[in-house]
């Protein structure tokens, strides 16, 4: 008999639990989604904000830039996130999607820059390449090195095959998989950038140009090492013949064991990335849903914390975790916009 009672009791508890679960949607915590590149910066701000104000610590989900914007643009209401982070600017199509789902007023804030570095163990020979050489070393299809007017599968085995000034050792580069924002940015900045510099690429590739410029080789020279940048860092330390592609903050954290390749004559330094002189630099952003201001407590205060000089300035605490500050004028302008909560018109994206 005892067993029956226990069984009945547990079913009852389960039923009660399901009854409690009817949506309790009022929330007082800011919900933030978006880019995994902005995540390490936004979490630091969120935690400080939680500790230093009376508001609860915002909840941050790392969904990737595209995933974040999709959730963000799904609608207005407490079940949708309030802020999304992005490691690229919102696309016009995403803006349209937001508009059609009723997310009319969106405030855009540019928070700083991040560089993509190509690094190796500091015991290895360092690399000094330009974008064209990088493209030739890593693309799936390249113009026939023996001349002729056709594209061939990448024949280069060693860096020195690409250009005699480069080290005479096999091309082995570890980088992020296609799901990663870092990979998107690398393809856009390095591969497509290098592709443009191949003089006759238009006639060689024709209308397949995008495919040719974006294709990364799959013959083992480029190794997909997973989303975890720490893994690439660890492998580089033990393997001096390989290079790795990851975000600047990982280089800074491991500056004792790693060195960065020079690209187009520029080392990835704070100044070079901030001024866009370093070719593999990108901007980081976040977007605020204006309709939620006043509904979810603390949004203006969070944005204020993020855009204060002691946070995102060159001496602010985000600089300590590897964010590269915007130039002073841009910071002032962005902070002013953010404070006034000036919504986007959509024209700035075109």
């Amino acid at each position: 008999m005892k067993t029956i009672k226990t069984a009945v009791a547990s079913v009852a508890v389960a039923g009660a639990l399901a009854a409690v679960s009817t949506p309790t949607l009022a929330r007082d915590t800011i919900n933030i989604v978006g880019s995994s590149t902005v995540y390490p910066f936004a979490t630091v701000v969120a935690e400080r904000f939680g500790r230093n104000t009376k508001f609860p610590t915002p909840k941050l989900e790392s969904t990737g830039s595209g995933g974040g914007l999709k959730l963000f643009c799904a609608g207005v209401g407490t079940e949708h996130p309030d802020i999304t982070n992005a490691s690229r600017r919102m696309k016009p199509s995403e803006f349209e999607r937001c508009q059609s789902n009723g997310v009319k007023d969106i405030v855009e804030v540019k928070i700083g820059s991040d560089g993509i570095v190509i690094a190796s163990s500091n015991k290895a020979e360092n690399l000094d390449v330009n974008l064209k050489e990088l493209y030739l070393a890593l693309a799936k299809q390249v113009p026939d090195p023996d001349g002729g007017d056709k594209l061939v599968a990448n024949p280069y085995k060693n860096w020195s095959d690409v250009d005699s000034s480069l080290p005479n050792k096999p091309i082995r580069v570890m980088g992020p998989p296609p799901t990663s924002g870092t990979r998107d940015a690398f393809v856009e900045l390095a591969m497509e950038g290098g592709c443009e510099e191949v003089a006759n690429i238009e006639e060689l590739a024709g209308d397949k140009k995008d495919e040719v410029c974006q294709g990364i080789r799959e013959d083992g020279a480029f190794i997909e090492a997973g989303e975890n940048d720490n893994l690439i860092v660890q492998k580089l330390a033990s393997d001096t013949s390989a290079y790795g592609i990851f975000g600047y903050s990982f280089l800074e954290e491991n500056s004792g064991t790693l060195q960065a390749a020079t690209i187009n004559g520029e080392q990835p330094t704070q100044d070079a990335i901030s001024s866009d002189a370093y070719p593999l630099a990108r901007s980081l952003w976040f977007y605020v849903k204006k309709a939620h201001v006043g509904v979810i407590p603390g949004i203006p205060e969070y944005v204020g914390e993020f855009t204060s000089e002691s946070t995102w300035g060159p001496n602010g605490y985000l600089a300590d975790v590897g964010l590269i500050a915007l130039p002073r004028d841009a910071r002032v302008q962005q902070a002013k916009n953010a404070k006034a909560m000036t919504p986007m018109t959509g024209d700035e994206l075109k």
């Binding site: 008999m1 067993t3 029956i4 069984a7 547990s10 079913v11 508890v13 389960a14 639990l17 409690v20 679960s21 949506p23 309790t24 949607l25 929330r27 915590t29 919900n31 995994s36 995540y39 390490p40 979490t43 630091v44 969120a46 935690e47 939680g50 500790r51 230093n52 609860p56 610590t57 909840k59 941050l60 989900e61 790392s62 079940e79 989303e227 975890n228 940048d229 720490n230 660890q234 330390a237 975000g247 903050s249 990982f250 954290e253 491991n254 500056s255 004792g256 064991t257 605490y317 300590d320 975790v321 590897g322």
Partner: protein
């Protein structure tokens, strides 16, 4: 063929057959040795990397709450309090213990302490405003750079971020006992943090417990009821065969599919909030149900028919036979199966990714609809963080998770030993 000839034939092949057996045994031992070696390597790696995660590095300072340098005349004045400088007393205390540092070294000196040290000064003063103007001995966590230097100065996997000058100060403070290592209680008292020194697993443990409670309360009764019905009451026909095949198939479905289902049904359709243990528990219930149903059916099957027949013989109804006799005897097997299913669910991350439980959550959850994360997700998040000090935190969290898993499996074995009846 005579007996003699037969015996000769057997003798001939005997040697070969013995050799065959010895070889077979050797392969078996080899397989076990490989499995054990893999296990030992795994544990050695995790423990070797992670034991330092259970050590915290602190600095003990004499902090003088000086009203002048803090710009605070009255600690009960709310407005003045919010404008006060809580870093100043820390810097003064640091200058006291590092007399050779000049005024220009303020930044380097301040960097020795965790970035939340000033918050501790503020909170202490807020709790006891009468401390203003007095001196108190306080213990602070050091910054993660100092912590890495103190713990891993000779480890080539860690790069030291401190300057030569700072290293000199830290060496000297350590010698004088001002910087000390002790057991990392913070690790078990806090939720997540971006400062490795302040990061803890309590939030994740509570999240895991809440999620598991939901899973257990739902999956055990439903699973057992389904198993009893299918085994004892359901008619044998095409339809029940079809259900059986489906349950067996469900047990082999990749767990991320259950996450997709949870996202579509619980969040998008029912409108439950994201990132909460309730939804996590529901999703894991779906995942654990087949395991529990299958093991419960096996437990019911293993109850000998003579028990049923004896009960029926003295006039018990079908219902009484099942509830009074079969169920109590099958329960230990059901519990074992459930605990193993729960242990599986405890280590799961993939389905939780889709329902938003992979998130940065600082506050320790206090209910089933509070945003929460779970232990394996916390490990995943820390393993991907750029700060080196998170590597040891991740390994330490793996040890905590393994402790829970081993505990649950041990409980299952103990229950089986203790309650199971052999026939």
């Amino acid at each position: 063929m005579s007996n003699h000839e037969q015996a000769a034939l057997v003798r001939q092949s005997l040697k070969r057959r013995y050799r065959k057996e010895r070889r077979f045994r050797f392969y078996g031992i080899l397989a076990i040795a490989i499995a054990l070696a893999a296990l030992v390597t795994l544990f050695a790696d995790i423990i070797g990397k992670g034991y330092t995660g259970f050590i915290k590095t602190t600095m003990t300072l004499e902090v003088r709450f000086d009203p002048k340098t803090m710009y605070l005349e009255d600690a009960t004045d709310k407005d003045a309090f919010s404008m006060a400088d809580f870093k100043a007393p820390l810097l003064a205390a640091l200058h006291d213990v590092v007399p050779e540092a000049g005024d220009s070294d303020d930044r380097d000196l301040g960097h020795l302490l965790s970035s939340y040290a000033a918050n501790k000064v503020r909170d202490t003063l807020e709790a006891d405003p009468s401390l203003l103007g007095k001196t108190q001995t306080m213990t602070f966590l050091v910054s993660d750079d100092v912590s890495v230097y103190v713990k891993h100065a000779d480890d080539p996997n860690y790069s030291i971020q401190l300057s030569e000058k700072q290293q000199g100060w830290v060496d000297q403070l350590q010698e004088r006992g001002i910087i000390q290592n002790s057991f990392n209680d913070v690790f078990f008292q806090n939720g997540d943090s971006r400062d490795p020194g302040h990061a803890g697993v309590l939030g994740a443990i509570v999240g895991s417990v809440l999620t598991m409670v939901v899973t257990l309360l739902l999956s055990f009764p439903i699973g057992v009821a389904a198993a009893i019905y299918l085994e004892e009451f359901a008619p044998q026909n095409k339809f029940t065969d079809f259900i059986e095949v489906n349950i067996n198939n469900l047990a082999a479905v990749p767990s991320i599919i259950f996450g997709l289902l949870g996202l579509a049904v619980f969040i998008n359709l029912f409108g439950l909030p994201r990132s909460v243990p309730l939804v996590g528990g529901l999703v894991l219930t779906l995942m654990t149900l087949p395991t529990i149903i299958i093991s419960s059916r096996a437990a019911i099957k293993s109850v000998p028919p003579s028990i049923r027949e004896a009960a029926e013989g003295i006039g018990a109804s079908k219902m009484q036979v099942v509830l009074h006799h079969v169920l109590p005897l099958a329960l230990p097997g059901m519990l074992t199966g459930s605990i193993i299913g729960m242990a599986q669910a405890l280590g799961e991350t993939a389905p939780l990714l889709l329902i938003g439980m992979v998130a940065f959550i600082v506050d320790v959850p206090s209910g089933f609809v509070d945003a929460a994360t779970v232990l394996p997700v916390q490990i995943f998040l820390w393993a991907g963080s750029p700060e080196l000090a998170f590597i040891e935190r991740a390994s330490a969290a793996i040890m905590v998770l393994l402790t829970f898993l081993i505990g649950m499996n041990a409980l299952a074995i103990w229950l089986r030993r203790r309650l199971e009846r052999r026939w």
